[in-house]
Structures are given as C-alpha cells and as structure tokens.
C-alpha cells in the first residue's frame, strides 16, 4: 500500500469514526432527556425500517417518496440548466444584455424560494409548482457562475485563436465553451444542491401526499420525531451522494485541470 492509499483508508476510517461519535453523543443526549422529541438511534432505525417496509400512515413506502422527490428535483434542475446555461453564456458574451437588465435580475436572486410559495400557489398548479420552486433554487447559481466564467476567459487563449484567423463562432465553440465548462459544472453542482434543499418548500405546496419533504410534513403534524429524523437524514444522505457523484464525474471529465490543494 502506498502513501496515497494509506491516506485514503485513514480518511474513510476517520469519517466512520466521526459518524460513530455523533451517534454516541446523540444516544447519550436522548438517554439523558428521556423525551419523545429526542428518540434514541434504535427508535430512529425502527422508524426507518417501518417506513421502508410498510410505508407511512398512508402506506406509501420510503422508496416511492424518494423517487417522487427525485423526479421533481431533476425536472426543476433540468429546467434551470436549460435556461441558466444559455442565458449565462449569452449575457457573458454580450455583457450589455446583462448590464441593461441587471436591475431586474439581481433583486430576484435574493428572494428566497420560500417567499415565492404564495405566488406559486396563485399562478401554478400541480407538478409545475414543484418544478418552479426547485427551478428558482437552482437557476441563479447556474446562471451566475456561467455568466461570470465567461468574463474570466483568459484573453491570451482567445488571442491564440484570433491570430490564426478564427471566426467568432470558432472562438465561442472552441475557446470560450471549453474554458467555462468546468465552472458551469461547479455551478450545476451547487445548483443541484440548492434545488435539493428546496424540496421541502416545494412539497409544502404541491398538493400530493408523496415526496420526502411531504413525508416530514406529515409526521410533523403527528409530532413523530423518529420518522421526521429519518426524512431529514434521507435528504441529507441523498444530497451528499449526488454531490459526491458529481465531483467524481467532474474530475473524470476535466482531468486536464490541475488540482489545487491548500495545505
């Protein structure tokens, strides 16, 4: 085993250790409190098994809740990419477009998705409500990173192509796009994370009784902490996994990038 592999094994072990520490602390805390609001890990596990095998109070299984949420996320996220990337590129290439609409775009960016709930209820129905709220969360990180990355394209790289007589379209396709792709990927990863964080807000208004966010809300009404914590953990773990997968793909695709580490 070389040093790098040793370091990786260590990293994994330490992560497991930190999980155990948190579980132990939680166990002690719940033992000390002796309250239904702080169920011990064993009860949380029971709630998880119940949700996974028998489903919730309406018999909807955990897997179906997760699947429903994932579909909503990907719909909103795909819409955010489909709009954010081309718009970011266009406004980066023609900064006047952005400068002249800045007063409209920028304030919208700071309105949290939750504040849009009443508006979404009035304007939209059904699936589009979910998609809209999630879109709101994902759109701006994707749009803004794309926009900024275009303005940061290295002018020397553009000049290299220019001097050989490249057309504007060649420069956009073969210089600007490859330069900005890694930044766009980062924007997408951040956007996906925020989209996922909006799932509870989105499922507050979607109307259907399915989805991980909805699951939490259902059990909040019943004040059953075990299931609520299961829902929270599921959201956390899925977000974590999506992010990790994205990072692995990014590394693979952009292997030409030098890795920076600040130790």
């Amino acid at each position: 085993m070389n040093d790098k592999q040793k370091e990786q094994v260590k990293t994994v072990l330490y992560n497991i250790l930190s999980l155990i520490v948190v579980a132990v602390l939680w166990t002690l805390f719940s033992a000390w409190q002796q309250s239904p609001f702080f169920p011990p890990p064993a009860d949380i596990w029971k709630a998880f098994v119940g949700l996974a095998t028998q489903g919730d109070i309406e018999g909807i299984s955990l897997a179906r809740h997760i699947w429903a949420s994932l579909i909503r996320i990907f719909a909103g996220f795909a819409a955010a990419c489909a709009l954010g990337i081309p718009l970011g590129l266009a406004m980066g290439l023609w900064p006047r477009m952005y400068n002249r609409t800045r007063a409209v775009l920028e304030p919208i960016r700071f309105i949290p998705p939750i504040a849009w709930i009443p508006m979404a209820i009035v304007l939209l129905v059904g699936f589009s409500r979910y998609a809209f709220l999630i879109w709101l969360g994902a759109f701006f990180p994707i749009f803004i990173t794309t926009l900024l990355s275009v303005t940061r394209v290295n002018p020397v790289h553009v000049n290299v192509a220019k001097v050989f007589g490249a057309s504007r379209s060649y420069i956009i396709r073969k210089i600007v796009i490859p330069s900005v792709l890694p930044d766009i990927a980062t924007g997408m990863r951040v956007g996906l994370g925020i989209a996922w964080m909006c799932i509870v807000a989105a499922e507050m208004i979607g109307g259907e009784m399915i989805g991980v966010g909805r699951l939490i809300l259902k059990y909040a009404e019943l004040i059953r902490m075990g299931e609520i914590i299961v829902g929270m953990l599921v959201i956390g773990i899925i977000g974590f996994l999506m992010n990790e997968i994205f990072i692995v793909v990014e590394k693979r695709v952009f292997r030409w990038r030098s890795e920076v580490s600040i130790d």
């Binding site: 192509a161 220019k162 050989f164 490859p178 030098s258």
Partner: protein, 249 residues
C-alpha cells in the same frame, strides 16, 4: 538582402493607456522576409508594440499597414508567440499544436504530417498526449513555439519566446528558427532582452528607449552570415555596440 520591399509599414504609431504614453510616434518599415529583433528595457512597451502591430490592441494614433491594407488574420498568415503562457489547458500537446492548421482548414493527413515534424523538431514527440498541466514551463513554451511554426506563417511575432528554455534547448531551437527562416523567408519580429540572442538571430536590431518609447537606434546585422559564430570579432563588435546602446536604460 536585395530589393528591400516594405512588408509592414508603421507610421506615426502612438499608444496611450489613459495618460500613460507607451509608444510615442514611432515610424519605420519592416521589410519583406526580414528578421527583426526588438530590444528595449522592461516595461517600455515591446508587448504593447506587438499587440498594436497585430491590431489585437487598437492604436491611439497612427497606422500599421501590410502591403496597402490593414492586417487581417484571415488573409495574412500570422503566428504570434505570446510572452505569457498560452497553451490551451483542455487540449493535449498535439491538439494545442494543431489548432492553427485546424482553424485554417487543412486536411487531416497534412495536419498529422506537419504536427509530427514540428513536434520532432521541438523535442515534444514523447509528450504529445500530455495535457499542459502535466509538462514543465519550458515544454509549454516549446508547445507555443511549435504551434506558431507549424502553420509556416509569413509573419511571425515572437515576444520573448525563449526565456524559459535552458541553454542547449535554446540553442537548438534558435538554430531551427534560423534554418526555418532561411528556407521560408518569413517576416519575423522577435522581441528579446537577450542581446547576444538578438545579434545571433536577426538581420536588424531595433533598440527602444524608456517610456515614452521611441526608437533609440537601429543596428544592421545582415552582413553576418548564418550560422553565426559568437566568437567572431564582428559578432563581438556588434554585440558590444548594442550593449553600449542599452547601458543607459
């Protein structure tokens, strides 16, 4: 050189950055097929000069013409080796070198042959599949050199291209450059602050002043035949002459 025909005509060229006068009313001709070296103190505007000549930067006053017209990269076959690192990090060495041929629409077999030759000449063949972040700074510089040579330009601008290279690689590439130039007789503008290199390579040396930059002096070197011998008394004399000119920077 026999019949000296101006290739690039520079008339009353000035460049200001706001109030900073960088190029101050410069006029001269660059002859067709000439190897011109430009030397000047750091920060005097050599890079700016190259950028203005190629119109990558607009001039404040004056004009630069090639033949009778403004420079046009689609019409004139130009290569430019930039002073700063200019490899495209997402392309391998091979793909970096071929970009000019790709833009100019050469057929794939010819691209392959030319890239192979130029990689051989610059000693980059073993690294052709590497990405720029996997090779050394000197190798990246050689990639930029290979990329500029491979299109066989009629105008070649080189902004301190050999600064990163060790002496032996430098000699070998300098010699390749001279051989290439003798064969193809392109017009070369070569910026350097290595005076020996200037005398070794060029036909004419343009010595610039401090900002606001003018031409301080011109030194002709065309009577020295290639390959030049750096111990030759005439070589030594010219190098001393140029050294005296720059002593007061």
């Amino acid at each position: 050189m026999s019949a000296k025909k101006p290739k690039i005509t520079i008339k009353n060229l000035s460049k200001y950055f706001d109030d900073l006068v960088v190029l101050d009313d410069i006029s001269f001709d660059i002859y067709d097929g000439e190897f011109l070296c430009v030397v000047g103190p750091t920060g005097c505007g050599k890079t700016t000069f190259c950028n203005v000549v190629t119109r990558l930067l607009p001039s404040t006053k004056g004009s630069v013409t090639v033949g009778a017209e403004a420079i046009d990269f689609k019409k004139h076959n130009v290569s430019f080796i930039f002073q700063e690192p200019s490899c495209l990090p997402w392309r391998t060495v091979w793909d970096n070198v071929k970009i000019g041929l790709e833009i100019k629409g050469y057929p794939e077999p010819e691209i392959r042959e030319r890239v192979q030759n130029v990689l051989e000449m610059t000693g980059l063949t073993p690294f052709k599949d590497f990405f720029p972040n996997q090779i050394s700074a000197g190798m990246k510089q050689r990639v930029a050199i290979a990329r500029a040579f491979v299109t066989e330009p009629d105008m070649l601008l080189m902004d301190e291209p050999f600064g990163q290279l060790d002496t032996s690689t430098r000699f070998s590439i300098e010699n390749s450059l001279v051989r290439l130039w003798e064969k193809t007789k392109q017009t070369v503008i070569f910026v350097t602050h290595n005076l020996e290199e200037a005398v070794y390579l060029s036909e004419r040396i343009l010595v610039l002043t401090q900002k606001p930059t003018k031409i301080k002096s011109e030194v002709g070197v065309q009577h020295l035949l290639h390959p030049r011998d750096i111990a030759d008394p005439e070589f030594v004399r010219i190098r001393r002459q140029v050294t005296d000119l720059v002593r007061w920077w």
